[in-house]
């Protein structure tokens, strides 16, 4: 019996050894070395083009399948289910008084508020933004299959193959790369930290950071298109971008060097943070310091004043939005008074939804989702720098920057606060409505008393 096992044993060991060597060599040649030098073979773009063709074919098959069964295909609406009246409160109330009577309170005034209330029950702007975007076609991922039912056996087989490829090949590959990337980051930044401060250290630190982020980009199979790179942020400025997921950081930092801002964490992230700060100055806050706005503002302005330090990277929305709109920017970073470099990031949802719904999924779950999608495809636009104008306060400046980012990225520009994801609507909004209504009534009764 034993004599049978031995030759197989050594054969298996040999095979395993060879496959590991081949695996790592391929990894090194095709992924790690290009990452170090910042070049690309174009493999990922080829992959993306073939995936698009595949999705189109899958969609056609579903349409054909539906026609065969003589049923109508149901296309999800991304624009809402009702047509909302664009008239304002004043116009509506005056409309109701067409009889020519003085605009004083009438029992029918309640209709306006009632209708608006029910309209918002059926369809409201804000809830839409915090759930993942609906797709027009299926991308062979079960998790984006909330509406799709017409799946023939051919498609199911294709989906099965897709699962095998994604979980059996892509996922282990990506996890290996991720570990390599993060490991190298920690080790190399600590080594660079041993150098004395000076030009050599900054140069090395830049190279090390870029290389590790590029490996992480490949770990996610992220295919990024950068536009307008002449507007890239320079030292002594702040870079602001819209926020969809924690991956935004990796995407931006693999094309330029930034100083990160964030809270000190424990665990693995804490280790990474401590290592990074040895190589070049990042801004990490203790949990207690985060509450003190003056302290935060002071540290940011000190950093910005030092022209040898890297531009700061900030996400003013404060939370992850689902990449169909840009929500209100918190004004803190706009009060500092330096040049702001806006950046717009738009993900292509066909390949993998990068939005992190932190109330539904934890970080590890999210990363697993990311690494088992087909790819992350996104576009980054660097907008020309903006500064605060005369007579503009921080909030207006923030809104101006927000509008520019929304326009460039093709996202809807909303007034709503990203904090609405979790918190309650401030009483102030209700008062606004009351003020508007009272102006219509009381304002007009003043006119009456004068006549």
């Amino acid at each position: 019996m034993e004599s049978y096992l031995f030759p197989f044993d050594s054969l298996i060991c040999m095979l395993l050894g060879i496959s590991f060597t081949v695996w790592f060599t391929l990894l090194l040649v095709f992924i790690i070395v290009p990452a170090i030098f910042g070049v690309s073979f174009g493999i990922r773009r080829l992959y993306m083009k073939s995936l698009i063709k595949l999705f189109e074919w899958a969609t056609l098959r579903m349409e054909r399948g539906a026609k065969e069964k003589n049923q109508h295909l149901y296309k999800p609406y991304s624009n809402g289910i009702i047509a909302k009246e664009p008239l304002s409160l004043e116009q509506e109330i005056q409309d109701m008084r067409r009889g020519g009577a003085e605009p004083e309170f009438d029992m029918s005034d309640i209709f306006y508020f009632c209708r608006r209330g029910v309209e918002s029950i059926v369809d409201d702007e804000v809830t839409k933004r915090f759930t993942a975007e609906e797709l027009e076609s299926w991308n062979l991922l079960t998790r984006s299959n909330y509406n799709f039912h017409h799946i023939s056996t051919q498609l199911t087989a294709l989906w099965g193959v897709g699962v095998l490829i994604r979980y059996g090949f892509l996922l282990p590959l990506r996890v290996t790369l991720a570990f390599t990337g993060v490991g190298l980051l920690v080790v190399l930044t600590s080594i660079v930290g041993l150098f004395p401060n000076g030009r050599m250290k900054s140069y090395l630190s830049d190279k090390v950071h870029l290389m590790c982020y590029r490996i992480c980009v490949r770990a996610l199979t992220a295919i990024i298109t950068y536009h307008d790179r002449e507007n890239k942020p320079k030292n002594g400025g702040i870079c602001v971008a819209n926020h969809t997921s924690p991956i935004d950081v990796i995407i931006l930092a693999s094309d330029g060097c930034y100083a990160m801002v964030g809270q000190v964490h424990g665990g693995l992230i804490g280790v990474i943070q401590r290592a990074m700060v040895k190589a070049c100055p990042h801004i990490w806050f203790e949990r207690s310091e985060v509450k003190d706005r003056h302290l935060v503002a002071k540290r940011l302005s000190d950093h910005v004043a030092d022209k040898s330090k890297l531009p700061i990277l900030i996400f003013p929305e404060g939370t992850c939005i689902n990449n169909t709109s840009v929500m209100m920017f918190k004004k803190g970073s706009f009060e500092i008074g330096c040049t702001v470099y806006p950046v717009a990031i738009k993900y292509d949802p066909r390949f993998g939804d990068a939005f992190w719904n932190s109330s539904k999924f934890g970080m590890v779950n999210y990363l697993l989702h990311m690494m088992s999608s087909w790819a992350i495809v996104c576009s980054v636009w660097y907008l020309p720098p903006m500064s605060r104008m005369e007579g503009e306060d921080a909030v207006q400046f923030a809104n101006r920057v927000k509008a520019a980012i929304a326009r460039k990225g093709g996202l809807a520009d909303l007034l709503w606060d990203g904090g609405l994801k979790r918190g309650k609507v401030k009483e102030v909004f209700k008062e606004e409505q009351q003020k508007l209504y009272s102006k219509v009534l009381v304002g007009s009764s003043e006119d009456c008393s004068r006549s």
């Binding site: 969609t59 579903m62 349409e63 539906a66 049923q71 109508h72 295909l73 149901y74 296309k75 999800p76 609406y77 289910i81 009702i82 047509a83 109701m96 004083e104 309170f105 029992m107 029918s108 005034d109 309640i110 209709f111 306006y112 508020f113 009632c114 209708r115 608006r116 209330g117 029910v118 309209e119 918002s120 029950i121 059926v122 409201d124 702007e125 804000v126 809830t127 759930t131 027009e136 076609s137 299926w138 509406n147 799709f148 039912h149 017409h150 709503w416 609405l420 609507v425 909004f429 209700k430 008062e431 606004e432 409505q433 009351q434 003020k435 209504y437 009272s438 102006k439 009534l441 009381v442």
Partner: protein, 194 residues
């Protein structure tokens, strides 16, 4: 994309519901999706907090009253049927509907729309809007923007104009009469797409 019929089957008693409310299959699917989106915990019914989570509704001065209109007295949850039936009040009036003498009045008739608005005023459901109830609505809609005296004078004047039988309260008939000239269909309807 998916076929309409397979999604419709997931909704219990959908045929009856469509007949009672007059919504089309496409509307039912969209409303069902919306119901599920509001029902974040997936319990199959909605409670007041789910409505309260809609930010635009929370900022509406009479938001609480509208939410209250969905819940029958004593019940703490709203299932999909009730949800759709209440929303049916806001369908535009069917101008071409044949007048069958024995069929029940459709949910979105002018009269039923008025009744819905009436119950927003009449919170204790005694069939009359008392001076107090009117004051409460005025307070909700105007908040701190006007003085107590102004509110009271508005309430007094409104009751004076509408109260025909001089019982110091507005009944449904008086309510209806005072709103004779208002285009209820336009003001209390929501244009559902498709």
């Amino acid at each position: 994309m998916g076929s309409t019929s397979s999604t419709l089957l997931k909704i219990p008693n959908v045929e009856v519901l469509m007949q009672e409310t007059g919504f089309s299959p496409a509307h039912m699917i969209r409303l069902h999706d919306r119901f599920k989106a509001l029902d974040k915990e997936g319990r199959g019914h909605l409670c007041p907090q789910d409505f309260g989570a809609i930010k635009e509704l929370a900022m509406n001065p009479i938001g609480d009253r509208i939410i209250g209109a969905f819940f029958c007295p004593g019940k703490e949850t709203v299932d999909f049927h009730t949800f759709v039936k209440i929303l049916a009040h806001f369908r535009p009036v069917d101008k071409n509907r044949p007048k069958e003498p024995n069929s029940p009045e459709p949910i979105n008739s002018r009269s039923n729309k008025l009744r819905f608005a009436f119950q927003l005023y009449d919170q204790d459901k005694d069939g009359k809007i008392s001076r107090d109830e009117l004051l409460k609505v005025l307070q909700a809609m105007l908040g701190m923007q006007v003085t107590e005296e102004q509110l009271e004078s508005i309430a007094d004047r409104t009751i004076q104009e509408a109260d025909l039988d001089r019982d110091d309260a507005i009944s449904f008939e008086e309510f209806r009469k005072s709103l004779e000239k208002v285009n209820i269909d336009h003001k209390m309807s929501i244009r559902f797409l498709r």
